[in-house]
């Protein structure tokens, strides 16, 4: 086993320090969890450990990161990856090829794996994440959670000694998530060392050896009470308390609506209504078609049947006008940005808000502070951390104040405090602005009593479920 050592590392973008005096040594063959709020520097540390930074960043590094006394950064990639495997936070970012099979093959060929072993390693890795059926599917057409599984298969196949996983389950459904933790545990049992960042602490109780806490760029070993708090999270599915809708009219109605992805049926003819000024949750396993449904509602994806908005057939509505009434908060935050800096984004949203009287400079400053984004006004939006981008994106869409907002996993990759703040702000503002909220989420711990209604998407069906009468 080689030794991975972080020795008094500082890392800064221009003048802003991201990591301060970090030292870390992982015990060989251990399972480590790295926790900390969004934007505290977890991803930066992982990217430094993987050797991608500082090359792919414009930050400056002092201190040493070594693998058996060799500078990690100086090791050529194919040898480095044999020792350190790294999984990106955003899975779409790391794919090079067209299909999962090609992707894994590309990686294994780079690592100079013998041709006769390649196919077996691909099959084994894809099997362990349960994605064999999608081996030759186009990666573009896989769902967010499915992409994360393929990305995980890629690093598993590389068989690296150290595995660095950055939010590997953010878009994975809760059941698959627990299965994947087992897969990673089994991988560790082959003598590997794991370092994983996750905001959802459930399901790790039996797996974890060490816990590290990152807080504003400082790293420490979890204190006893922090450790207890984290390990106490149980993996059970929280009960969502919602009622069944009794409205006779909906702001959105689906009439015999069908959805397909290639030859695969996602939704068979379904008739449902979605009531106005309510908060509606959509849950379901990965790849079932949740994001596709939201895309169809904003006319970005073809569907069968009829969808109406305020009794108007959306097929007949011009898309420019349609999305002024019903907007999608994309899963990938970067797609929603129109300017360069946080301040420019805010000004843009402020000028085009449907509720300009609410959105004074003071009001914006107040919400920014609540979301812990206040000090970032002159930052480039593309350089914010994953969690900060998400919070900013949601805020911008709330400022615009579109009548119906569709949220595609807005809580993924956020720490639980940020999740709670974001939910409070969404609840507060959408009530005040009389908005309808439709949200896909896997982070059910945070939302047990937040929603009015709950739609379950499974087996090509979309049904309301609820426990209250």
């Amino acid at each position: 086993m080689t030794d991975l050592v972080v020795d008094h590392v500082n890392f800064a973008y221009r003048e802003t320090p991201v990591l301060t005096d970090i030292s870390l040594k992982l015990r060989p063959n251990s399972f480590n969890l790295l926790v900390g709020p969004s934007g505290s520097g977890k991803s930066t540390l992982l990217k430094l450990l993987s050797g991608l930074y500082p090359t792919f960043s414009d930050g400056s590094l002092t201190g040493k990161l070594t693998l058996d006394d060799y500078d990690i950064h100086d090791i050529v990639p194919y040898q480095r990856v044999a020792h350190i495997g790294y999984l990106f936070q955003n899975p779409t970012r790391q794919f090079v090829m067209r299909t999962p099979f090609e992707e894994l093959r590309f990686s294994l060929e780079n690592l100079q794996v013998k041709p006769e072993d390649i196919e077996k390693r691909i099959t084994d890795a894809m099997e362990s994440v349960g994605m064999t059926a999608y081996m030759h599917h186009d990666l573009l057409h896989l769902s967010g959670g499915e992409k994360q599984k393929v990305a995980l298969a890629t690093v598993l196949a590389a068989d690296s000694e150290y595995l660095l996983l950055d939010e590997p389950f953010a878009n994975v459904d809760p059941i698959a998530r627990l299965q994947l933790i087992d897969v990673i545990k089994a991988y560790q049992n082959q003598g590997k060392t794991i370092l994983i960042t996750d905001h959802d602490w459930s399901g790790y109780t039996d797996a974890i050896d060490d816990i590290f806490v990152m807080d504003s760029g400082h790293l420490h070993n979890a204190l006893t009470d922090e450790r207890e708090q984290i390990l106490a999270k149980l993996p059970n599915q929280p009960a969502i308390h919602t009622s069944l809708p009794d409205e006779k009219e909906g702001i959105i109605t689906l009439d015999s609506v069908t959805l397909n992805s290639g030859a695969r049926t996602l939704l068979s003819a379904t008739t449902r209504l979605l009531p106005e000024e309510k908060r509606i949750l959509i849950t379901g396993p990965n790849g079932v078609g949740k994001s596709t449904l939201l895309s169809a509602l904003v006319k970005l994806y073809p569907y069968g049947g009829t969808i109406t908005y305020h009794k108007e057939n959306i097929a007949k509505r011009k898309i420019a006008k349609h999305v002024q009434d019903i907007a999608l908060v994309f899963q990938n935050a970067e797609q929603q940005f129109v300017a360069m800096t946080v301040q420019e984004e805010l000004t843009q949203a402020q000028t085009l808000s449907h509720f300009p009287e609410f959105w004074s400079d003071d009001a914006i400053t107040r919400v920014l502070t609540q979301l812990n984004l206040h000090g970032l006004r002159d930052h480039i939006v593309y350089q914010l951390s994953g969690g900060q981008q998400k919070k900013l994106q949601v805020l911008l869409m709330l400022i615009i104040g579109t009548q119906t907002l569709l949220f595609d996993e807005p809580l993924a990759g956020l720490d639980s405090i940020s999740q709670q703040h974001l939910l409070d702000i969404i609840a507060d503002l959408t009530t005040r602005q009389h908005q309808t909220v439709i949200m896909i989420s896997h982070q059910l711990h945070a939302v047990t009593d937040w929603f009015d209604y709950h739609l379950q998407f499974d087996n090509q069906e979309l049904n309301y479920v609820g426990d209250a009468l």
Partner: protein, 220 residues
């Protein structure tokens, strides 16, 4: 036939055509290509493209030579018209099947033509990105419409976002490749080793000899 060999054959013939002023020969090339297309099972749309695409440049040069040319301009007008068709139909033999043969073509470039793997995989990355481009443009437009801002085709912001997306994407591609262990200049193993069959080389030689024989009657 291996696509790289096919590419070489087509290129050599096309190069020679440039120096030969013969309508007959051009028509023979078109005829032979058309004959081969019969076996390639083209769909009607591809046939349509084969007829329409050469029409504009072909007729353009035909008109300018016919009515504004000097010297042997009438003959040259017909040569140019038929030459444009010959080029495109000949090239089509390679390009129209490229979609199906893309992977093997790129693998041949890497393994046989010893082209740098960096170049080949950057190309693969770009080709894989192509289908995403139009979707991305659509998403950019709708995303900004959702922010209350309509970006029209003529507005620079649309392209600014698109270029930004492309830059981000190319950075991601570079990071993705490195994180997958891709190393510039390092050896790689290959799951599928490309071999160029002896038959392919044989066909290349036969076709080129046959073409040279066609030139014997001094058409030009």
């Amino acid at each position: 036939m291996n696509p790289l060999i096919k590419f070489a054959t087509v290129m050599v013939i096309a190069l020679e055509l440039t120096f030969i002023k013969s309508v007959t020969l051009n028509i023979i090339i078109i005829g032979v290509s058309a004959f081969l297309y019969l076996f390639l099972k083209l769909n009607w749309r591809q046939w349509l493209w084969l007829f329409i695409l050469p029409l504009l440049p072909g007729l353009g040069s035909w008109f300018s030579l016919m009515y504004f040319g000097t010297g042997d301009h009438e003959h040259m007008a017909w040569v140019m018209l038929s030459r444009v068709f010959a080029y495109l139909w000949l090239g089509g033999l390679f390009t129209l099947k490229l979609n199906d043969e893309r992977d093997i073509f790129l693998a041949t470039l890497e393994q046989k033509a010893k082209l740098s793997a960096t170049f080949v995989y950057a190309l693969v990355g770009v080709l894989n990105f192509m289908p995403a481009v139009s979707q991305e443009m659509k998403t950019i437009r709708v995303a900004s419409q959702m922010r209350g801002q309509t970006l029209h085709i003529w507005q620079p912001q649309l392209y600014f976002k698109a270029i930004l997306a492309a830059i981000r994407w190319s950075q991601n591609l570079a990071e993705g490749m490195v994180s997958h262990g891709f190393t510039e200049g390092a050896t790689r193993t290959h799951l599928q080793v490309v071999t160029i069959k002896r038959r392919d080389w044989f066909l290349l030689v036969i076709i080129l000899i046959a073409f040279q024989l066609l030139l014997l009657p001094n058409w030009y």
